[in-house]
């Protein structure tokens, strides 16, 4: 037994050695990643991610609404041309939206009820509202009230799309109030500690009036789309609507991951190699530039080789070896100017990324003035013409923000009005009925948003059926529906995309069932 006593003592001695172990083990602090952050650090990243998100939405919109078609030399377009969607198609719209929203929600949660950060709070709420509208316009019902609760709710329930619309309208009012509160404090209180957004605001450089203008324009976007279904206060902050294009630019440059996202996708990669050339100009949109429906000098700014022999377009779903390839510099870079600092839609790797343009805001005002009751005054035609001019101005501005005499927006705008003076799509006076007026407005908006914010045109088409297409036609100038469409609808188009695979897998109980890409509609879609 003596041996057992020895052994017991030895065991105790070893056990004692372990009594001071906690210190030895407390080494799990992360040396690789930050575990805390500040609104100042979060805002610029969130805004820049929104710019990338707009590129994701732009791709979906451009493929669905006839801006882009499959190019020659590539195959395997699958559901892109058949519309027989799976849950994986375009799912980046969902995942990137919520990913981005998580950051805005973080800013909101960390600045709520903090007067000093009311600008951060207001800006984050405006962006949250904007992205939620894009989500609803794409998916209809989406999680809103239960979202971003992390471990408290890993399977957030879906809110009715109309409820989300109401909520984001209120959120925009809330944001305006927050910003006004901060501005008032800055003006009235000498000891005010309200933090300017300053350089952290990669959208407006800290100009809070511009933020309020964006909020006003977004309120109008919500109200217009839900017109006749939902009613809102239709009141706007005194600063009015957008007066300059809302462009995000954190300092885009030619470097890996640091380029303007649109340019990076469709122009040149950072290393100088050409980006995606599997897609090219759609024959349908071309007909508004090449003289088939309208002749438009903006084509020179936007398209590669516009109006010369190398100019190539295709109809979506036409897969044959006779389809021409996209030009080696891609379809959306004109070769007239320096590709690094260009006009058109791909203005260069360092150019700002449009969140919303003045043109869109103008056309929305035109539509609101046309239908009335949405709190927008003024002459419809003036708003309409302002929109066209604003589009010329945006497209004729170089990536670095400069203009040149070679690209005279005013002159070409006038030339455009003259050349197409017989078309009511340009000459607003020729549009006699409300329907023709609406068609003119939406068609001009469609032209202005080509490869700018393409998803908004897809939303407008579903809501208004403009620009007009010929249902069932196989002529690429008359419809943008794919030749390989499997759609059961008369227009041969889908009505929406499906919820993403991640929701199917991880939030299946809440996800609305029996969603069909041809029969399920967004709540504002009258078709």
């Amino acid at each position: 037994m003596k041996k057992f006593i020895y052994i017991s003592l030895l065991s105790c001695a070893v056990a004692l050695g372990f009594s001071s172990c906690q210190k030895y083990l407390n080494i799990n602090d992360n040396p690789n990643s930050a575990t805390s952050s500040t609104p100042e650090l979060m805002l610029p990243q969130a805004l820049t991610t929104t710019a990338s998100l707009e590129n994701t939405y732009n791709t979906m919109g451009a493929q669905l609404v006839g801006y882009m078609a499959n190019a020659g030399g590539y195959g395997g377009f699958g559901s892109n041309v058949t519309y027989s969607y799976g849950n994986g198609d375009y799912q980046g719209c969902w995942t990137s939206s919520y990913d981005n929203l998580t950051d805005y929600q973080w800013i909101i949660n960390n600045t709520n009820d903090n007067l000093d950060y009311s600008f951060y709070n207001g800006a984050a709420k405006i962006m949250k509202a904007m992205i939620f509208q894009q989500l609803v316009d794409t998916y209809n019902d989406v999680p809103y009230t239960d979202a971003f609760k992390e471990t408290e709710n890993l399977t957030p329930k879906y809110d009715d799309a109309k409820v989300v619309y109401d909520s984001i309208y209120a959120l925009l009012d809330d944001a305006l109030a927050e910003i006004n509160k901060g501005q008032t404090d800055l003006a009235d209180n000498d000891a005010s500690n309200v933090q300017d957004l300053g350089d952290n605001d990669v959208l407006f450089g800290g100009d809070m009036d511009n933020w309020k203008r964006l909020a006003n324009s977004l309120k109008l976007r919500v109200a217009l789309r839900a017109n006749g279904i939902l009613t809102f206060n239709n009141s706007y902050d005194n600063v009015g609507f957008l007066t300059e294009d809302a462009l995000v630019n954190p300092g885009y440059q030619v470097a890996n991951g640091k380029q303007n996202p649109l340019y990076n996708s469709w122009g040149y990669a950072y290393d100088g190699s050409t980006a995606n050339r599997a897609w090219m100009i759609c024959t349908f949109v071309s007909s508004f530039y090449d003289g088939y429906k309208l002749f438009d000098p903006r084509g020179y700014a936007i398209f590669n080789s516009f109006d010369d022999d190398d100019y190539a377009t295709n109809q979506l779903g036409y897969e044959s070896n006779s389809v021409e390839s996209a030009p080696s510099a891609g379809s959306w870079i004109n070769l007239i100017e320096d590709k690094k600092n260009n006009v058109g839609v791909l203005k260069g790797a360092s150019a700002g990324m449009p969140i919303m343009t003045v043109a869109e805001s103008d056309f929305m005002q035109a539509e609101a003035a046309l239908i009335g009751g949405l709190g927008v005054d003024g002459d419809v035609k003036t708003h309409f013409n302002d929109g066209i001019l604003a589009s010329f101005k945006y497209l004729y501005t170089f990536g670095d923000g400069t203009t040149s005499d070679d690209w005279d927006a005013e002159a070409d705008y006038n030339h455009y009005l003259d050349t197409n003076s017989t078309s009511y799509l340009v000459n607003f006076d020729l549009a006699t009925t409300t329907s023709e007026k609406l068609e003119a407005i939406i068609t001009q908006k469609y032209i202005a948003l080509n490869m700018v914010n393409s998803d908004q045109s897809w939303n407008d088409f579903r809501r208004t059926t403009f620009p007009k297409i010929t249902n069932g036609s196989t002529n690429g100038k008359l419809t943008f529906a794919s030749l390989q469409s499997t759609s059961s609808r008369k227009d041969k188009l889908p009505s929406r995309i499906l919820y993403p695979t991640t929701e199917l897998s991880y939030n299946n109980d809440n996800m609305p069932k029996d969603i069909n890409q041809f029969t399920s509609k967004i709540f504002w879609d009258p078709e």
Binding site: S33, Q45, G76, T155, Y270, D271, S325, T502, S505
Partner: protein
């Protein structure tokens, strides 16, 4: 004694060099066992006579004989030995026979135990068995030699990877690989591929979790305990050997050689065939007709390449014959107080992928010394390995390119891209794919690893029954690499002529370095004593483990000066990243063993671990185990004297082990949500942070595995002519640590939590028959069979019932799915009726695709069989090893790409014509819900590059590429010849000379339905649990054959 031995040793050497005469002389000698202990009463006879003596208590003998006579030495418990007399003094070492009663094994912690004491399954593999077929990697040499041990060669290439699994998968997404222990030090798995196989003395495979008390929770997956060679007292030997091995590609996916490039997109010719195209890469053109056709666009100078339009399939010729050279050297020596072993190996490998090279140099030094009488002993073991890889990074791309290439194109013709304008990227015929030879030269990776693995140990034995051991082990790895690709600027002509598909390539380079250091400290006491009929063995101790990693990577692109691959040679901003990881674990353990009368043994262990990577409230966890061993042949009178049943042990054990399976390097830093610079930040002086997508839990805990096993070892007839062993085990693992996807709307995309349960049960059996063993012959056969039933019980109720372990972008892949085998292959399938017939459209005859993922097969082999034989006749040994795996399926992920290209054999089964979809039905229009067998509704689009074969209906239906994973392989075959002593005597210095020929993976037999590849290969890395999918991401499977010559001095 020490001086005496040394003197004797020198004397012996001296005598070797002196002249001897063929006359009667007095020969002296000693007989020892492998541990250097004297063997008394051994019989020493002159062969062919009746003259003989017995050894004395010190193992010494004297006998009168002629030089050149052969002595035959026999002793109970040892193998018979013949020795030619070439000296007046002989040191003879007998090798222990397989004797269950006295055999000892090195088990967990470096502690030796008698085999009879062990209550859990263990299998010992001797070093010679591993090096039989001269695998450069130990894992390759261990394949199929142990029941329950699954070693899967997951890749080809110059240094193939192996996945090492014992008793199936337990953890859903965590580590399932067996713990590797090298000379009592836990080492990362990759060390196995960087160890000289010639250094291995033996490998002990602990199938169950029994080693966990000693090694901690990492041993919950079983352990592979590698012991390297030690020197032996009184025996000095130098061994030199050279091995040359040829490697050749053994298997290719089956390709069609009937149709060349073109397709219906170019229209149809007068015979109704799709038109030929000179640049098309899809093989949907007209049938080969031997005519001369243009290939590619004309060059800028107008010259046009032409080829004969015939299927020749030169793809196989692209791959080289590989060559591996291994040079080995080792020296062992020892005396009464110290032992010494040193070795060196240089292996160089030229792979089957052209230009791929690998080399490895290893050095080892092992030894021991008694310091203070017999009370203090120091031992050390130190190995250093350095390897170099020079490989292309584009193997997968090249392989894919090759599978896409029309079979009339002779790829080997494009090797000289620098000088041949048709091989130059500007003139290369195919605008969509690069010339693979250009890729070989322009996408390279040079990497270098050095490993230092070693330990030092001191034992102190103050009392006869008490011993203390202190041990420090270290594994240090240092890695650096340079990965680069060259640039190419196309001529304007080349860009426009090839449908604008040739786009400039810019150069890039990335440089990375990391080190990892794993420290393991052990301090334990061991006490052995007897009291009456009871024997006790008590062990207690502590263990401290620290893992540390630091890595840095810098990348640059595009580059300025061509061919200068340096990260400072760039335009723009370099990319940079850094990772630092450190984790610690400490454990306190006890191991208690009590034996009764040498026939009943009870063993109990307990261990508590504390780990730095879990939350404070769950970081401490305890796990116990117990096992029993009963030697029936010693305990029961009626068996004691049985002539049939020579040995019978019945054993059983239960254990519970916790394993911490957090993701990431060492599982560190998973407890706090992180923020990082995203979206290209920083831009200049503007920083920007965003939330990362992992939602964290503060409730993480270890995965718990509960296992029990029962078995027996049964040997028949004296000398154990037939030995058998049988084990049944059952284990369940609960609280799986799973990073599950979550709805993005929750504020993240993944969540780490403890859910789910898996089960594994199986049978491990071994049978060895040694029917003939005499002076001239030694014949043995072995068989090991493993049955494995591995399942996912549940994951997280309704919320998550499946987890993708490895999947392609279309969702097909390897999954863990509740209620199914673990893992299963999932993917898309057609709609089928109740009998499994594919439902086709009544109008078009086209099958209908079910859009939800289906379980398409079981990805893990249920049955594994190893068959080996070893026939030795007078120094000639023929040994071989066959393997069978069955009861599972595999998915070929490359099928979809080569059907797209029209090169796959499937695309020609109906000669590119109309066909009725095989085994199909269509819905009865009069009775919806019932189906009519389809015999006449044909698919019209069986031809052309926009027809059925390239359609999503064919290519994205993964079930089209799922096939049985069964195979038979001739894994190893070797023939060796020991040059007779009578011949060697003339050369004096050479004690032994062996010449051998050997081959590995020589033949594979696959079911007819497997059109693709060796099911053993895997699309994913060897550490991923997502097995079951094969693809084209590594070089095709190889066979190896070569020869070795070795000398012992």
């Amino acid at each position: 004694m020490r001086q005496k031995l040394l003197l004797f040793f020198c004397f012996g050497l001296f005598l070797i060099s002196s002249r001897t005469f063929a006359q009667k002389t007095n020969v002296e000698g000693t007989v020892q066992n492998q541990q250097g202990e004297a063997i008394p009463s051994a019989s020493v006879k002159i062969k062919g006579t009746s003259n003989g003596v017995l050894t004395d208590d010190d193992g010494k003998f004297k006998i009168t004989a002629e030089m050149g006579n052969t002595l035959l030495i026999t002793s109970v418990g040892y193998q018979d030995m013949s020795v030619v007399i070439n000296s007046k003094h002989l040191a003879i070492v007998l090798i222990a026979a397989n004797n269950q009663l006295t055999d000892v094994v090195v088990t967990a912690g470096g502690i030796t135990r008698k085999k009879i004491e062990l209550g859990a399954a263990q299998t010992i593999v001797a070093g010679e068995q591993i090096t039989q077929a001269k695998s450069v990697n130990i894992a390759g040499g261990l394949q199929d030699k142990v029941a329950g041990l699954q070693i899967q060669g997951t890749t080809g290439g110059v240094n193939p990877n192996y996945r090492i699994i014992l008793r199936g998968n337990r953890s859903l997404t965590g580590n399932n690989e067996a713990l590797i222990v090298l000379d009592n030090v836990i080492v990362p798995n990759e060390v196995l591929g960087n160890l000289n196989p010639e250094d291995v003395a033996s490998i002990n495979v602990l199938q169950g979790a029994g080693a966990a008390a000693i090694y901690g929770s990492k041993a919950s997956n079983g352990a592979i305990i590698v012991t390297t060679k030690k020197g032996r007292a009184g025996n000095t030997a130098i061994k030199v050997s050279q091995t040359e091995t040829i490697e050749s590609v053994a298997y290719f996916p089956k390709m069609q050689t009937k149709y060349g490039q073109g397709g219906s997109a170019y229209g149809y010719d007068e015979n109704g065939y799709p038109t030929f195209s000179n640049i098309e890469n899809q093989s949907y053109g007209p049938p080969f007709d031997g005519s001369t056709v243009d290939l590619g666009e004309p060059l800028e100078d107008g010259s046009q390449q032409t080829i004969t339009y015939t299927g020749n399939d030169s793809r196989k010729d692209f791959w080289d014959k590989g060559l591996t050279s291994q040079t080995d050297f080792s020296l062992t020596s020892g005396d009464a107080v110290s032992t010494f072993y040193m070795s060196g190996q240089y292996a160089s490998v030229k792979g089957t992928t052209p230009k791929d090279k690998f080399n490895r140099a290893s050095l080892r030094i092992n030894g021991s010394r008694k310091i203070y009488q017999d009370k203090v002993q120091a031992t050390y073991s130190l190995g250093f390995t350095q390897n170099n890889y020079d490989i292309t990074t584009q193997t997968a791309d090249i392989y894919n390119n090759m599978l896409n290439m029309p079979s009339d194109v002779d790829i080997t013709r494009y090797a000289n891209w620098q000088t041949d304008p048709f091989a130059n990227p500007n003139g290369y015929y195919n605008p969509w794919y690069l010339n693979p030879y250009w890729e070989l030269d322009n996408y390279r990776q040079h990497s270098r690893n050095s490993y230092l693995v070693g330990n030092v140990q001191v034992t102190y034995k103050p009392l006869q029954w008490l011993e203390f051991t202190a041990r420090q082990g270290i594994t240090h790895r240092n890695y650096s690499d340079k990965t680069w690709n060259g640039s190419f600027t196309y001529s304007e002509y080349a860009k426009t002529i090839s449908s604008n598909s040739k786009s400039d390539i810019s150069a890039a380079v990335s440089d990375g370095e990391f080190y990892s250091t794993n420290l393991l400290s052990d301090l334990f006491f061991q006490s052995k004593f007897k009291a009456n009929d009871f024997s006790f063995n008590i062990l207690g101790g502590g263990q401290w483990n620290q893992d540390e990693y630091k890595g840095i990577n810098v990348s640059a692109s595009p580059l300025v000066v061509p061919d200068l691959y340096n990260v400072s040679n760039l335009v723009g901003i370099p990319g940079a990243s850094e990772g630092n990881y450190k984790a610690r674990t400490m454990g306190f353990y006890g191991d208690f063993r009590v034996g009764y009368k040498e026939w009943l043994f009870l063993h109990m262990t307990g261990r508590n671990d504390w780990t730095s990577i879990l939350p404070v409230n769950t970081r401490s966890f305890f796990y116990p185990s117990a096992d029993v061993s009963f030697i029936a042949t010693s305990a029961l009178d009626f068996l004691k004297n049985s002539n049939v049943i020579h040995f019978l042990k019945i054993r059983g054990g239960v254990s519970k082990v916790g394993e911490v399976n957090l993701p990431g390097t060492y599982g560190t830093y998973q407890l706090q949500r992180t923020y990082s610079q995203q979206a290209g930040f920083p831009y200049g002086d503007l920083p920007g942070f965003g939330l990362d997508n992992r939602i964290v839990s503060d409730q993480l805990k270890p995965e718990m595995t509960r296992q029990y096993e029962l078995g027996f070892d049964l040997n028949f007839f004296p000398r154990d002519i037939i030995t058998t062993s049988f084990t049944y085990y059952h284990s369940t693992t609960a609280d799986q640590t799973v990073s599950t996807g979550v709805s993005y709307a929750s504020g993240g995309s993944s969540y780490l939590t403890n859910v789910g349960k898996t089960m594994s049960q199986g049978i491990e059996t071994e049978l060895k028959v040694n029917p003939i063993r005499n002076e001239d012959w030694d014949v043995s056969f072995g068989l090991n069979y493993t049955y494995l039933d591995n399942k996912v019980i549940d994951i997280d109720g309704d919320l998550i019932n499946q987890i993708a372990l490895a999947s392609y972008s279309d969702g097909s892949g390897s999954y863990a799915k509740a209620g199914y085998a673990f893992p299963v292959i999932m993917g898309l399938d057609y709609y089928r009726d109740d009998e499994g017939h594919v439902i086709v459209d009544a109008e078009t005859g086209l099958p209908t695709k079910n859009p939800t993922l289906q379980v398409l097969g079981n990805a893990v082999a249920k049955h594994r069989l190893g068959l080996d034989f070893n026939v030795n006749f007078k120094g000639i040994t023929l040994a071989g090893l066959f393997e069978y795996r069955g009861g599972y399926d595999m998915y070929f992920g490359g099928g979809n790409t080569y059907d797209w290209a029209g090169t796959g054999i499937r695309t020609t089964i109906f000669n590119r014509g109309r066909f009725v979809f095989p085994n199909s039905v269509y819905e009865d229009p009069n009775n919806p819900g019932t189906y009519i067998k389809n015999t006449n509704i044909t698919i019209t689009d069986g031809n052309g590059n926009s027809g059925y074969w390239t359609d999503d209906l064919n290519r994205t239906v993964s079930s089209n590429y799922v096939t049985s994973g069964a195979f038979w392989k001739l894994r190893e075959l070797s023939l060796s010849y020991d040059v007779p002593q009578s011949f060697l005597r003339k050369s004096r210095a050479i004690k032994k000379m062996t010449i051998s020929l050997q081959g590995r993976n020589l033949f594979i037999w696959l079911p007819k339905t497997n059109l693709y590849t060796d099911p053993e290969y895997s699309e994913v890395s060897s550490t991923s649990n997502g097995v079951g999918i094969t693809g084209i991401s590594s070089a095709p499977p190889s066979r190896y054959y070569g020869g070795t010559i070795s000398f012992t001095f």
